[in-house]
C-alpha cells in the first residue's frame, strides 16, 4: 500500500505499533492524576469525574485536528456506526464500574491481571469476526498469541509484586467474577472499534460518539448507585476542590484512547490492544517513581517488578515484530468488503481510508467560527476547575515527575507527527 503523494512512506504496521505504545503511555498516565485525590471520595465519583473530563477534553485538542464539519461529513457517510460507537461507550462504562467492585473485593493485585485478559478476548473476536490472524501462519500466531500471553503474565507478576500495598477485603469470588466480567466487556468493546475502522470511519469521529455513550451510561449508573441524580449533583459539588485531577486524567485518557483507536485501525485489535495494555508499566512508573508508593518494598518484590516489566516488554516486542503477511491482508480485505456490501459503502473510498489516505482531506470542509467557541469553552472548564483546586498534601518527587511528564509528551509529539505525515490523521 503506497502512501499518497508528499506523505511519509512509513509502513502502517510500524505506525500502528507506535500508536499502541503511545496509547499505553497516555492511558497509564491517565491514572496519575487520580492518585492526587485524597481519600474520602467515592470511586464512582472519581470515575465519573474522569468520564466527564474525557467528554469535555474531546472538544479541545481533537477539535483542532479535525473540525466539526469533517466530523459531521464522516458520520453522515456511515450513520450506522453511531450505534456501535455508542455501544462501545456503554460497554466501557459498565466494565469500568465492574473494575471498581473488583478492586474493592480482591484488590488490584488479583483484579488487574484478570481484567487485563481483555486483550485475549479482543484477539478472539478479531479472529472470529474480522478474520484477523487468519492466514498468518504458525510464526505469526506464535508472535501475537505469545506476546499477548506474555503481557497478561507480566501484568500478573507486577500485580502480585505490588499486592502488599493493597488491603483487599473479603468477598473474593464476587470480586473475581467482577474482574473477569470487566475483561469480557472490555475485550468485546473492541468489536465496535474494529468494525468502525474497516468501514473507513475516522477515529476522531468514533471517539466523539463513544464519549456520549460513556457519559450517559456513567451518569445513569452513578444515579442508580448513589440514590438519584440529586445526590450525584451534590456529591459533585462537594468534590469541586479535587475535580480538576480526575478531569485531567480524563484528558490524558482521551489522548490515549485516540492512539489506541489508531492502533486498532492500522494493526487490528489482536495486535493493537495487547500493546496498549502495557499501560500498567506506566501506571507503575508513576506510582513507584513520583509517588514513592513502593519505598518499603523488599528486594524480592523489586525483583518481581523488574521481571514482570521485562516479560511485558518482551511481549510487546514480540507483537511489534508480527507484521501481517499478504495472505492475512487478503482476509482483512474480505472483512472490509463484508462491511461495504452490507452497508452500501464505496469500496474504493473505504480501501483508501483503511490504507491511511483521507479522500475527505482533499476537499476539507470549511472550518466554522463556533469551533473556536467550543474549544474555548472546553478549555475554560479545565481552567475554571484548576483555579478552584485545593492543593493536595502528597509527597511527590519533582525530578521524576518532570522526567515522566517529558516522557509522556515526547510520544505525543513523535506519534502525532508520524500520524500527520503518514495519514493526515485519517
Amino acid at each position: 500500500m503506497l502512501a499518497a503523494q508528499g506523505r511519509s512512506t512509513l509502513s502502517l504496521h510500524k505506525l500502528g505499533v507506535f500508536c499502541g505504545l503511545a496509547a499505553a503511555v497516555w492511558l497509564g498516565t491517565a491514572e496519575a492524576p487520580t492518585k492526587l485525590v485524597n481519600a474520602g471520595f467515592s470511586p464512582f465519583l472519581i470515575s465519573m469525574g474522569m468520564v466527564m473530563g474525557a467528554f469535555v477534553a474531546r472538544w479541545t485538542v481533537p477539535t483542532l485536528l479535525k473540525g466539526t464539519g469533517f466530523l459531521f461529513t464522516d458520520l453522515r457517510n456511515k450513520p450506522h456506526l453511531i450505534v456501535w460507537a455508542l455501544l462501545a461507550g456503554m460497554l466501557w462504562a459498565v466494565a469500568n464500574t465492574l473494575t471498581i467492585f473488583a478492586v474493592r473485593n480482591v484488590g488490584l493485585a488479583i483484579a488487574f491481571p484478570l481484567w487485563n485478559t481483555n486483550s485475549l478476548v479482543g484477539l478472539f473476536w478479531g479472529w472470529l469476526l474480522f478474520k484477523e490472524l487468519r492466514g498468518s501462519g504458525f510464526k505469526g500466531w506464535a508472535k501475537v498469541l505469545g506476546g499477548a500471553f506474555a503481557i497478561v503474565g507480566g501484568a500478573a507478576v507486577l500485580a502480585y509484586a505490588t499486592a502488599s500495598q493493597s488491603n483487599a477485603p473479603g468477598e473474593a469470588a464476587v470480586g473475581i467474577i467482577a474482574a473477569l466480567g470487566a475483561g469480557v466487556l472490555l475485550g468485546t468493546m473492541y468489536i465496535p472499534y474494529r468494525k468502525a475502522y474497516i468501514s473507513g470511519m475516522n477515529p476522531l469521529s468514533f471517539v466523539t460518539i463513544f464519549t456520549f455513550g460513556e457519559l450517559a451510561t456513567v451518569l445513569t449508573l452513578s444515579a442508580i448507585y448513589m440514590g438519584g441524580m440529586g445526590h450525584v449533583v451534590s456529591e459533585l459539588h462537594r468534590a469541586r476542590p479535587m475535580l480538576f485531577w480526575p478531569f485531567l486524567g480524563g484528558f490524558c485518557w482521551v489522548i490515549g484512547d485516540l492512539f489506541q483507536n489508531f492502533a486498532a485501525k492500522y494493526i487490528g485489535i489482536g495486535r493493537g490492544i495487547p500493546l496498549s495494555n502495557t499501560n500498567q508499566l506506566w501506571g507503575l512508573a508513576w506510582g513507584a517513581l513520583v509517588f514513592a508508593e513502593f519505598s518499603g518494598l523488599s528486594n524480592s518484590g523489586k525483583v518481581l517488578i523488574i521481571t514482570g516489566s521485562l516479560v511485558m516488554i518482551l511481549g510487546a516486542v514480540s507483537i511489534s515484530m508480527a507484521d501481517p503477511g499478504p495472505s492475512e491482508l487478503v482476509n482483512w480485505k474480505q472483512a472490509m468488503h463484508r462491511e461495504c456490501d452490507r452497508y452500501d459503502l464505496d469500496k474504493e473510498v473505504v480501501a483508501e481510508v483503511v490504507a491511511g489516505d483521507d479522500p475527505l482531506a482533499q476537499h476539507p470542509p470549511v472550518r466554522r467560527w463556533w469551533e473556536a467557541v467550543i474549544m474555548l469553552a472546553a478549555t475554560s472548564v479545565f481552567v475554571w476547575l484548576a483555579i478552584g483546586t485545593r492543593s493536595q498534601h502528597l509527597a511527590i518527587s519533582m525530578p521524576w515527575m518532570i522526567v515522566l511528564v517529558v516522557g509522556t509528551i515526547l510520544p505525543l509529539g513523535v506519534c502525532g507527527t508520524l500520524l500527520w505525515r503518514r495519514t493526515r490523521f485519517s
Binding site: H80, V83, V94, I177, G181, V184, L185, R342, Y343, D344
Partner: protein
C-alpha cells in the same frame, strides 16, 4: 436512516454479540449492588 440500513444493522451479528455481552454485564453489575 434508510429502512434497508436499519435491517442490516438489526441482522448484523456484530451488533448482537456486544449487545448480549452488555446485557450480561448490566445483570452482573445489578447483582453486585
Amino acid at each position: 436512516m434508510k429502512r434497508s440500513t436499519l435491517v442490516s444493522i438489526l441482522t448484523d451479528v456484530h451488533l448482537w454479540v456486544p449487545v448480549g455481552v452488555l446485557i450480561l454485564g448490566i445483570f452482573l453489575l445489578m447483582s453486585l449492588r
